[in-house]
Amino acid sequence: MRKDKPAEIKVKTFATHHVITQPNPLRKVLRRVDEKDIDDPVARAEQALAGLSGEFRDWMLVEAERLAAAHTAILKNGFTHKAAEELFRAAHDIKGDAATFGYPSAAVAAESLCRIIEHAPDLDKVPPELINHHINAIQAIVRDHTRLDSVKVATELSRKLRGVADEYLMHVNRDRPEHLEAILAPSIVPGE
């Protein structure tokens, strides 16, 4: 929105703080519409998103390859700070994007992997198979996505991986209350 002139800012001063108010600079973009107005921007956006869905499988393959590459680098050079960060970033992106792309089980497995990287006190001491199973599960979920019989397996696989990872994290963080609290806290993401 173009700003013709800056809105007038008012400051009320109190003992410990200032309260700053200004006329709503975005008010001009609000317009009142009739209830029966058939234009629904959310429906329009959902339709546009559905139009993109043909590309989701390719995008998911790119994300899974990035995760595999990050893991390969760790297998080769160990958990350097940079390598761990890249693995976390790749897993974190899958955690955030996969459900939108139609791969909710991959998102669950990726979240579990993120938790390991974030809360394990020493990544070099994490059993390598725990990391490997997460990586392999995500790759398998993405590859076999079109097979109808794989959906149930993927859900179960991700759930079990999360269980094993949580058990490990609770054990290694038993003397680290701040991590334990974060591990046990429920996710704020609404359930499906």
Binding site: M1, K3, K12, F14, A15, T16, H17, H18, V19, I20, T21, Q22, N24, P25, L26, R27, K28, V29, L30, R31, R32, V33, D34, E35, D37, D39, P41, V42, R44, A45, E46, Q47, A48, L49, G51, L52, W59, V62, E63, F88, R89, H92, D93, K95, G96, D97, A98, A99, T100, F101, A107, E111, C114, A182, A185, S187, I188, V189, P190
Partner: protein, 181 residues
């Protein structure tokens, strides 16, 4: 019932993931937005923020160079030459309560946990456009009022003193993150 004229709004989207940027761009354009600027890291976003003066910033948390949290902190500099009041919507895969609190204390206006939905994004934008909160400046904080409820019984160390409680009734940032809309 209110609608937003998205074509009058200027957005800055900051996310290092090109797929997420594409999704955000698609959603915003289909809402009706024309001006959507994109950055793939916090440093570029800050530069674009100063240059394009967006009305609303939508940022990811985890990004290279500096992240979305640092971006929010840099925007919320009361003495800066740029606009420190622009609404900031943090869209992130981080889904823990602790993160919402940290984001709130960095001056983030709204928090939206991934996976993204058209409805969730629209509601956040509608909220920052229709119900802006006053800004609060203390020794340690500058940003939108973090109080969402009137609680006169609170007597903890962070209680502000010296004035009547003036708050807009809204669900807490955490409750909104949990509800997804």
């Amino acid at each position: 019932m209110f609608r937003i004229d998205f074509n009058k709004l200027r957005f800055l989207v900051c996310d290092d993931n090109p797929h997420m940027r594409r999704i955000l761009r698609t959603l915003l354009h289909s809402f009706g937005a024309r001006e959507v600027y994109e950055a793939e890291d916090g440093a570029t976003a800050l530069e674009m923020y100063t240059h394009y003066v967006p009305d609303i910033v939508i940022t990811d948390w985890s990004m290279p160079i500096f992240d979305g949290l640092e971006l929010a902190q840099m925007i919320r500099q009361p003495e800066s030459k740029g606009n420190p009041y622009a609404p900031i919507i943090m869209l992130t895969g981080h889904s823990e309560k602790r993160r919402v609190t940290v984001a709130r204390d960095a001056g983030v206006t709204e928090f939206l946990a991934k996976p993204i939905s058209a409805k969730g994004l629209y509601q956040r934008i509608l909220n920052v456009v229709a119900s802006p909160r006053p800004f609060i400046k203390t020794k340690t904080y500058f940003g939108p009022d973090r109080r969402r409820n009137t609680n006169n019984t609170y007597i903890g160390p962070e209680r502000r003193v010296g004035g009547e409680v003036e708050v807009l009734q809204q669900p807490s940032l955490l409750d909104k993150a949990r509800s997804g809309v």
